[in-house]
Symmetry: C2
Amino acid sequence: MRRVRYGVGMSLDAFIADPEGGTGWMSPDPGYDPSPFFASIDTLLMGRKTFELAGKNPYPGLRTYVFSNTLRPEDHPGVTVVSAGDAASTVASLRAEEGKDIWLSGGGELFRSLLAADLVDTVEVGIYPILAGQGVPLLPTFQMQARLELTKHEVYRSGLVVLIYAVRRDARPG
Amino acid sequence: MRRVRYGVGMSLDAFIADPEGGTGWMSPDPGYDPSPFFASIDTLLMGRKTFELAGKNPYPGLRTYVFSNTLRPEDHPGVTVVSAGDAASTVASLRAEEGKDIWLSGGGELFRSLLAADLVDTVEVGIYPILAGQGVPLLPTFQMQARLELTKHEVYRSGLVVLIYAVRRDARPG
């Protein structure tokens, strides 16, 4: 079973974007090398808002799934548009396929629905040294708690802190 | 000038308490020794809600200030009740006194008002390995961003991650 990994940058107050979806305050750290992460994945999951903000198809090398009830598949060649209501079944099928890991790049609403369906394996956050004050939350209001296990941490010179957690099975529904 | 230090535990999604103010999901890590922190402070600042949840006067060894427009000082011997509108001027005076550091233990609303007044020197969070889903935010909606400088990090066996940041002067108002 390959893993579904929610991988995002966020502020210390857990916003993954500003109210308009911008992420300009996430200054890249020159010491952070994203290539091992990208070498480990071959599939990308995005919600509709994240997709629109990302500029349509930002990672053409990845099999990309966009979950939306409003986008028309024929308008978006190069990605697979799936009804948001089918997110859990689609991701469950993808997860059971052979392949590399699956990157859930956001947003928080898609994360919430997949977390509730017990389909997220890791939460991997890069915490930028800023309080954003407002914006798009890492996880919108969620009626359950999800316990995590810290499996790795990295600290960079700019103050970027990368924390990698496994979602604990014993705390998940079903 | 002694420092005002906002020191709290939080979930990865940046909630410092559940919706009722409870913090039972913050399992103490046996390796974390709070005594150096307590040796470095002599004064405690709290908002009214934090004070009521803390069980009145939880740290009798500290000079404790509670900011509230509704509590009556005569009902709360042992602490100093100050009008919330006077928080900034009171804290500015305390900060200019001789003494050890000042612990701002919460909540988020008091933090926000003191941050806006350029009166918070550090943000010191213990991140517990959990997604709380909802609750009391580290920082309620704030119209400015505050840039931070990571000055220290500690990682404990339970997965508790302590991150200590200085609030950057160059990013503060005034």
